[in-house]
Each structure stands twice: as structure tokens, then as C-alpha cells.
Amino acid sequence: MKTLEELKAIREKTLEQVRLRKDHDGKHARIVVGMATCGIAAGARPVMMSFLEELKKRGMENVTVTQTGCVGMCTYEPMADVYLPGEEKVTYVELTPEKVNRIVVEHLANGKPVVEFSIGARQAKKDEE
């Protein structure tokens, strides 16, 4: 049973991480998930929830998850851009909750983008077809 007491406990727990986040302003990783009509219809909501769950599991509070609108490539939705400080963004396409696990572990935690889920790989595959 979810209670406000639980919420208070979460607040206590997260307070320290919030202070840490403030000290490192501008140097965080960011995940931007497409959440327009096309994204939602394609399944972006469970993808976003999956990012939140995986980051929560690993205590990665310094990674911000946010949204963007339609970028005009609706057939590739659900899409997410991952920005690591100092790195070029990586655009992931046709995401599913299962793919999110690998992205959090390999890219966010270990700095290695999952190339096979990226837009580059998808477009190369399209050229082959």
C-alpha cells in the first residue's frame, strides 16, 4: 500500500543525491524520449518507464530523463537521444523496454553506445533491403 510515509522516506533517501546533482550542474547524462502522438502510439511510454526503472535500480539519479516532440521521423519511433557529457549524442530508434536495459548498462553505465540500436545502424540496414 503506497503511502505518504513512503514518499517521505524516498525524500530522505534522495536528498543527498539531489545535493550532489546540484554540485555537478551541466555535467550530467541526459536521455530525451520522443513523446508526441507518434511516439506514444508507437510505445514510447513503456520505454520511458523502463528507463526510469533501470536508472532507479542502479541509483543513477544524476541521469535526467526528459521528453521531446515529433522530430519528423515517425516510423522510427519510439526514439530516444542519449547525451553523455562531452560526447556526441546517440539517437536510438525503434526502442522497446527490453532494449532499454542494454542501453542503460552498456551506454549509460559503461560509456559504450549500443550501435545496433542506433539510427545509423537502422538506416544502414534499410539501405541493404
Binding site: M1, R11, I40, R45, P46, L55
Partner: protein, 192 residues
């Protein structure tokens, strides 16, 4: 016209009501709302009334007439705006309807009615995920109230109450968002 026929024939693009709500509430936020209220009421005959009420910039009478047109949008990246037309389509499919009231400078109210007993009725879906996603996307610019009423039962969620408990901890902390999803869903399950 052909496009409209295409819309009608596509197997319902939004699988449930909670996804439609995630979509249209974003319109309210983009209209610079500070508070958006989402209410769902189901009466004893299974008639569902869904209301989205905002305090955003509102629309002119001409724009209200335009928003149900799939080829009308305020976006610049595409020439279609499907959110509202799709919602209206689904309401009409269950012999319900949708109408929009708006006043420039005050806000907009969308009312969509559905017959939950109709064979084509959409499931309600996961409101917990929708509310959590809205809090993730718009942690500071807007507050959200969600209410669900069925006979005597009542679900009430208000982000302002959550923020009051959290104080300096942002509502879009991962743990908080997961708590919001589970909290709303638990309350919803108790109603069914």
C-alpha cells in the same frame, strides 16, 4: 477525405484511453497551463465522461473548429495533428462524442464521452504510467490533478500535494516517478 477513411480503418492507433490522455494533456502544457485537471467519471450505466481542464492560453472560436481537423496543427515539423481527431474518433466509435470549450486567455476544456459497454470501447489503460510520464516530462512548469469516480469510489491524485511532501527533492526523481506510477495504479485497481 481519403485520409479520413484511412484514419477510420487503421486499427485503433492509441490502444487505450490513458495513452490518449498522455497525448492531449501535453497540448494543455504547451498552451502554458499551470494546472491541468484530468477527471474520469463512470456512471451506473457504464457511461464514461472524461474531462481535461486547463488554465492555458485558450483558443479562438476559429481555432476550436480547426483542431478536430487532422490536417491542422501548430507544429512546424509536420502537417498533421492527430491527437484530438483520434480521441474524437474513438469517442464516436462507442456512440459517444467529444467537444471542446475554450476562452482566449483563460483556458480550455475538453469533454469526451464514451460508452464503456460498447463493443468497440477502449480499455482505460494504465493511468499510473500516464501521470508518472507527465511528471517526468513537465516537473516544474505544470501541476496535474487526476480524479476517477465510479459510483461511490474515488481516486484523487494531486502533484501539488506530492511536491509539498518532497520539498526540495524534484518530482522527476526516478524513485518518486516509480512511486507515483505504482501509487496511482494501486488506487485504480482497488476501484475495479
Amino acid at each position: 477525405m481519403i485520409y479520413l477513411i484511412f484514419l477510420i480503418n487503421t486499427a485503433i492507433i492509441m490502444r487505450d484511453l490513458s495513452l490518449h490522455l498522455l497525448d492531449v494533456v501535453q497540448n494543455s502544457v504547451k498552451a502554458k497551463s499551470t494546472l491541468v485537471t484530468i477527471s474520469i467519471e463512470i456512471d451506473e450505466n457504464g457511461k464514461m465522461k472524461v474531462t481535461v481542464l486547463d488554465d492555458g492560453c485558450g483558443m479562438s472560436k476559429e481555432m476550436v473548429e480547426q483542431v478536430t481537423n487532422p490536417f491542422f496543427t501548430t507544429r512546424t515539423t509536420r502537417e498533421v495533428g492527430l491527437g484530438i481527431p483520434l480521441l474524437m474518433e474513438n469517442a464516436k466509435r462507442t456512440c459517444g462524442d467529444m467537444h471542446i470549450e475554450s476562452t482566449l486567455g483563460e483556458g480550455t476544456k475538453i469533454v469526451a464521452e464514451f460508452d464503456t459497454k460498447h463493443i468497440d470501447a477502449l480499455p482505460l489503460g494504465n493511468m499510473g504510467q500516464t501521470i508518472a510520464t507527465l511528471c517526468a516530462c513537465y516537473p516544474t512548469q505544470c501541476d496535474f490533478i487526476f480524479t476517477y469516480t465510479k459510483e461511490e469510489q474515488n481516486v484523487h491524485f494531486d502533484t501539488r500535494e506530492v511536491k509539498e511532501v518532497l520539498q526540495e527533492v524534484p518530482i522527476n526523481s526516478h524513485e518518486v516517478l516509480v512511486w507515483i506510477e505504482q501509487s496511482v495504479q494501486e488506487e485504480m485497481k482497488e476501484q475495479l
